[in-house]
Point group: C2
Chain length 352, copies 2
């Protein structure tokens, strides 16, 4: 470690993304990427991009993208904040809505980046345990003395709480900001809590284009909420890296959000494949949680999670394992194409 590293930077435990191996061709079910390409409109946006314009700084306000996302959700542009992936949005939210020493509450099993942001901002992270079946007990979130962040549906559990349960948390914490991270909401039955935004000034929704819109490469995510909250994120952006979206991210982002039919088609295919593959795995004796996401959180009857991960990797299939107490026996398997999942099922069957 560099002798110039600050004490707080030295204390960080950085995030470990899913492996991006290139030593052979893998069926990649380890990063919750979409198995289908982005909307054909994204290809056109890319082909139409004017390379000569790259000499200029992008629109730091990304006005056209804000307008497109606002239109999709029936909001105004002032109720939208666009970031370079939802990770950047979340990072800025932690910087904007917390001061050093503040508490932040989130479920004990959830997205691994929340504790890292908390550490980065010097917050006291309070993990609220999930139930033994991995569900979230909403009453555990009543009257808290810090802001709350909940991935809904949650990762890697794949389980969701209902909009009514989100409202319950909002009503019990009127003076606390409640951030609902909806990275996987398009795959859930209840979809988004965006319709609650104008009813609750303490609600902020975070979404990403990386999953249902197949745009993980382009780094586009957003926050949705009242204009004051969005202005808080903008304030951090303009104090850190104002030009966070390049013109290609803006153009392809607009194309992606405008193609509602393609989104519905992609999500429909993934949900059908998910339900079929989950059912087949259950028939094999595996425990598979009822997923509302584009991945399956599953446990093999005899093979521990880490071992299952290694065995499938040797067979050319990458899945994800989290060596964390409580979920150590489980693996997270992204829903691929029907063909991907057939291969997975075949390999899983051969392991028995």
């Amino acid at each position: 470690m560099s002798k110039f590293l600050g004490k707080s930077a030295a204390a960080l435990t950085p995030y470990v993304p899913g492996e991006q191996l290139t030593d052979r061709v893998y069926i990649k079910l380890n990063a919750n990427e979409c198995p289908y390409p982005p909307s054909p409109g994204v290809e056109r946006a890319l082909r139409d991009a004017e390379y000569r314009a790259l000499r200029l700084y992008p629109d730091a306000e990304a006005k056209a993208l804000h307008a497109a996302v606002a239109k999709f959700h029936g909001l105004t542009s002032q109720e939208v904040y666009m970031g370079a992936g939802s990770d950047e949005v979340l990072g800025y939210a932690f910087m904007a809505f917390f001061d050093k020493g503040d508490k932040v509450y989130y479920p004990g099993i959830t997205y691994g980046f929340y504790p890292i942001y908390a550490q980065l901002c010097g917050l006291e992270a309070v993990e609220i345990p999930v139930r033994e079946d991995f569900t979230i007990a909403v009453s555990d979130y009543y009257g808290l003395d810090g802001n709350i962040i909940i991935a809904n549906p949650n990762a890697p559990t794949s389980l969701a709480i209902t909009p009514e349960e989100v409202e319950d948390i909002l009503n019990h914490n009127p003076d606390r900001l409640v951030i609902i991270d909806e990275a996987y909401a398009d795959f859930s039955e209840n979809k988004t809590v965006v319709p609650l935004l104008r009813k609750y000034d303490n609600l902020m929704v975070v979404q990403t284009f990386s999953k249902s819109r197949a745009m993980a490469g382009m780094r586009v995510g957003c926050a949705l909420g009242n204009p004051e909250l969005m202005a808080g994120l903008t304030r951090i952006k303009f104090s850190f890296n104002p030009f966070n979206l390049d013109p290609l991210a803006i153009a392809t982002g607009i194309a992606a959000v405008e193609d509602k039919a393609y989104l519905a088609e992609t999500v429909g295919k993934i949900k059908a494949t998910r339900n079929r593959a989950g059912e087949a795995m259950r028939k094999m004796g595996m425990t598979v949680l009822p997923s509302e996401t584009n991945f399956l959180f599953a446990k093999h009857p005899t093979i521990p999670g880490g071992e299952l991960c290694r065995l499938l990797k040797a067979e050319g299939i990458l899945i994800r394992h989290f060596a964390k107490p409580g979920i150590d026996d489980y693996v997270r398997i992204t829903v691929g194409t029907d063909g991907d999942m057939d291969t997975l099922l075949e390999k899983l069957g051969a392991l028995k």
Copy 2:
């Protein structure tokens, strides 16, 4: 302001980028953008980009881009850190190499983002005044009790210190990190201090693809330094937003850095135009500092800076004015094409 905004976020004074006006066609000399397009290789990289691959996360380590930049500078990949523009690199440097309450030293006239990063990280910012002629007195930087950041050449003054002067500062602060921000170094006589990197473990160089490489749109910047320093930046990246470079930024960045001939040609043209335009402005009675950048820092004999800015804007030319004591009479004028500068000179002449 949102009631949920943290106290430290509320106290920030965010950066104000140069205007991006679209109400009419302007000659845009206000953001130090390159008047020429990026290398033709960038266009090819964009055309060859595989849209279907955008469904996947990018290589979080951007290994191919690191290798290309390392090769350009005669360094190893471990001596390179690639960021989403040099603003992101600088922001991460402030997060990595300082703790709250630490001092950071920089010239009293310099890039307006340094005080903002200092504020964001809760540092004590100490501005060391420049001389009356805007030059930096190196001896003012001896034996400081905090890390140092110097834009070299400096902005908006357009003046540079020599590599020997940088060494002098390094030698007088062996236990302090010295960050040399070389956004404009390609336009200077002495170019970069990269050759000093292996001699001084307390030196870090920051560069951008936004100026000499005409890639402001694509958000590519880098730090160069010893592997431990680079690992410090990587540590922050993986604790904040690991996928900071999309595959198009990576591909176009590689194309840009590999085209050395185009860089030399572009820089040569801009320097020739700069010197000619600067001389012509001096003949008009303007004060023009001897620029080692792609902009001119200039004072009109009778018209104050803000007023000059407004008058030229009415004539369809955007330049930049900083309403800051000491430089209030000056304007910063980006060097455009010969045609741009001829129009500028004509309009300036008509103002007299």
